[in-house]
């Protein structure tokens, strides 16, 4: 079944990594069992801040899922041959990220056993319905594309013709997942922080930075651990994409700051004040947000100067700063900041609890486990092909 035999043979290092991930998953599963019995009161969430770490991770990871489109689009629409070898890596990363998104939504449900009500009573006026459609569709598309192209590669034949339109469909579909996820927030009348038309473009820009940044890091790790090399050209092309996307992302953010502060409308300003200066003595996220700003500034310096970007060690550092800057921005600030202050103007703070963090870590571990197994399969297929070629 799907070349899984390739995933069950591996080095000692491979198995200890999988074992470590399994341990994190087991701890999170135990915490989730407790949450399932006790209720979401086990988290740091409250009547005022009703979404937190789970929904924020979901939002961030929708962005990471853009890794696929940023290699598929240049390869299929612009004939960027350098990406030929890594489209499969982008697709597997997208599959893992979307799976994590779904798990984060699931653990955030107050009544998880009723979650199928979303399909039992489909409600087109709810953006959450469309988010289910777009994320589910994106998962199926990428799984299909990855499976078909890898099977063809193993047999040493060209992929069947019908997969090409499926791949082309996955490009606008990727845009839809970010747009629809942004619409979850930007259509709510009482939440001024999110009530901005630039939220969807901002999601796209940050996704096209964070997804490819992680992909670059993964390519570098793979090169060290296996015989597979994505190639300098592919990595540099991806780096250029990250550079443009990060510049646009920071630009969009500054536009938000301008509109909020030049207009002077309190409801728009206060969320930024809470995040970056603290409000009414509450300043828990302030150090985090400034770390994000600092990391973004460093990343821009390292990415924009060609001499730095072309040096792969510096590029790795740049990708790390992009990833963590955007993780704080979207995986923490964007969601919590939207709830503080409340629509009534009161300030209540949120901070995740240890079980909440353990559940979050477990879902990340599930993602990395999937990613490891998928990459192992893909690379084993390539290694055996290369070996056969040398023999023959």
């Amino acid at each position: 079944m799907f070349m899984f035999e390739k995933a069950v043979v591996g080095s000692r290092r491979y198995w200890s990594w999988l074992g470590a991930l399994a341990a994190v998953i087991a701890l999170g599963a135990a915490c989730y069992w407790r949450q399932f019995e006790y209720g979401l009161g086990i988290t740091g969430l409250s009547r005022d801040v009703t979404w937190g770490l789970y929904i924020a991770q979901f939002t961030f990871l929708v962005g990471v899922a853009a890794s696929a489109v940023m290699v598929v689009l240049p390869y299929y629409l612009h004939n960027a041959k350098a990406f030929g070898k890594i489209t499969i890596l982008g697709e597997f990363l997208a599959i893992s990220a979307v799976t994590m998104c779904m798990l984060f939504i699931f653990v955030d449900m107050g009544q998880p056993t009723r979650v199928l009500n979303v399909m039992l009573y489909p409600t087109p006026n709810s953006i959450m319905f469309w988010d289910m459609v777009s994320l589910g569709g994106y998962l199926i598309l990428n799984a299909l594309i990855a499976l078909v192209s890898l099977s063809a590669e193993r047999k040493g034949v060209a992929p069947p013709g019908w997969i090409k339109p499926v791949i082309l469909l996955s490009i606008p579909w990727a845009v839809s997942i970010h747009t629809v996820t942004a619409f979850l927030y930007s259509g709510l009348p009482g939440r001024s922080f999110w009530l901005t038309a630039i939220l969807a473009p901002r999601f796209l820009a940050s996704a096209f930075a964070s997804g490819p940044a992680l992909l670059i890091l993964l390519c570098m790790i793979i090169r060290r651990l296996s015989s597979f090399d994505a190639g300098r050209e592919a990595i540099q092309k991806l780096a250029l994409i990250v550079t443009y996307a990060m510049i646009i992302n920071v630009f969009f953010f500054l536009m938000e700051v301008f509109t909020a502060f030049y207009s002077g409308i309190p409801e728009h300003k206060e969320h930024f004040l809470y995040l970056f200066a603290g409000l009414e003595g509450h300043a828990r996220l302030v150090p985090w947000m400034w770390t994000s700003i600092l990391l973004a500034a460093v990343s821009l310096l390292l990415l924009i100067v060609p001499r730095y970007r072309h040096n792969e060690r510096v590029l790795a550092a740049a990708c790390l700063t992009v990833f963590f800057s955007l993780w704080i921005d979207k995986g923490l600030g964007l969601i919590v900041g939207g709830f503080v202050p409340t629509p009534l103007g009161t300030v209540a703070e949120y901070w995740p609890t240890p079980p909440e963090i353990a559940i979050t870590a477990a879902i990340w571990a599930v993602g990395f486990l999937m990613l490891t197994v998928f990459y192992k399969i893909a690379l084993s297929v390539r290694e055996s092909l290369a070996a056969a070629y040398q023999e023959g």
């Binding site: 209720g39 409250s46 107050g110």
Partner: protein, 251 residues
């Protein structure tokens, strides 16, 4: 695949036209105002009358008792259907240095506004909350709610509460006539639809010693609410958001 640009555009255009046509047909077929809606329940609150009873919580107690609203130990897990909120929080746009003394910092009653255009209903992915066609009440099905809390994020009035823990151990007294809830679902004021069914006014209205809460049918020109709306100047919470709240305040 040899789909040329023209074929693709034709197909895409055709799909868009079909979708637009369907939406237009539905819009045209929908009556301007549903004839089934024979009533439109609303409330007028006289904030000054309410303030005369300092520290009074009779309406809150009556409501929370009647509806088995829990009081969890942790403040952040609070569940409330009706409560007193500082005037500046209930009406942020009215706050200012020279706000009338009698209002500044003083509590006003707030609860679900039973909006004509409720954002909570718009966002609910399972139709567990909906606007009742016959009288405009915003209803809640606790057995269908999946606990995603999208409605809580959508409500601009903070009127919705989530059960972070099992509510049943946190009831001061149990009203066996009314359901209790389970953990993990959202709840809110339902305008006492169970009492309206029996021809009785909402519990808060009945409990008010000052008769500061007036409940009635906006469709009936002779109703007390219509008389008050004609006679007095009233405020609504955040009318600029287009939600059309149906709780009116005399300040």
């Amino acid at each position: 695949m040899s789909t040329d640009r023209r074929a693709f555009l034709t197909l895409a255009g055709g799909c868009a036209l079909a979708l637009a046509g369907r939406a237009a047909r539905q819009a045209l077929a929908a009556p301007q105002s549903s004839p089934a809606q024979s009533r439109r329940w609303a409330m007028v609150i006289d904030a000054q009358k309410c303030l005369q009873q300092e520290g009074c919580r009779k309406c809150v107690q009556a409501c929370h008792q009647a509806h088995n609203v829990p009081a969890p130990a942790e403040p952040r897990h609070e569940v409330k259907w009706i409560w007193k909120e500082a005037f500046e929080h209930a009406f942020p746009s009215e706050a200012g240095e020279h706000l009338r003394e009698s209002l500044r910092g003083n509590p006003v009653l707030v609860f679900c506004n039973h909006c004509d255009q409720p954002p909570c209903v718009r966002v609910c992915p399972t139709q567990a909350t909906w606007k009742r066609a016959e009288d405009g009440l915003v209803m809640m099905d606790w057995h269908r709610c999946i606990g995603c809390r999208y409605c809580v994020a959508a409500c601009p009035y903070g009127s919705r509460s989530f059960n972070w823990v099992d509510p049943r151990p946190h009831l001061a007294s149990l009203n066996a006539e009314y359901p209790t809830r389970t953990k993990g679902v959202v709840e809110k004021c339902t305008f006492c639809e169970e009492r309206l069914e029996q021809g009785r006014p909402p519990a808060c209205v009945e409990a008010c010693p000052k008769k500061a809460l007036v409940f009635g049918d906006l469709r009936d020109p002779a109703s007390e609410v219509r008389r008050l709306l004609r006679a007095r100047y009233t405020l609504r919470r955040k009318p600029e958001l287009g939600t059309q709240p149906q709780i009116y305040y005399i300040v």
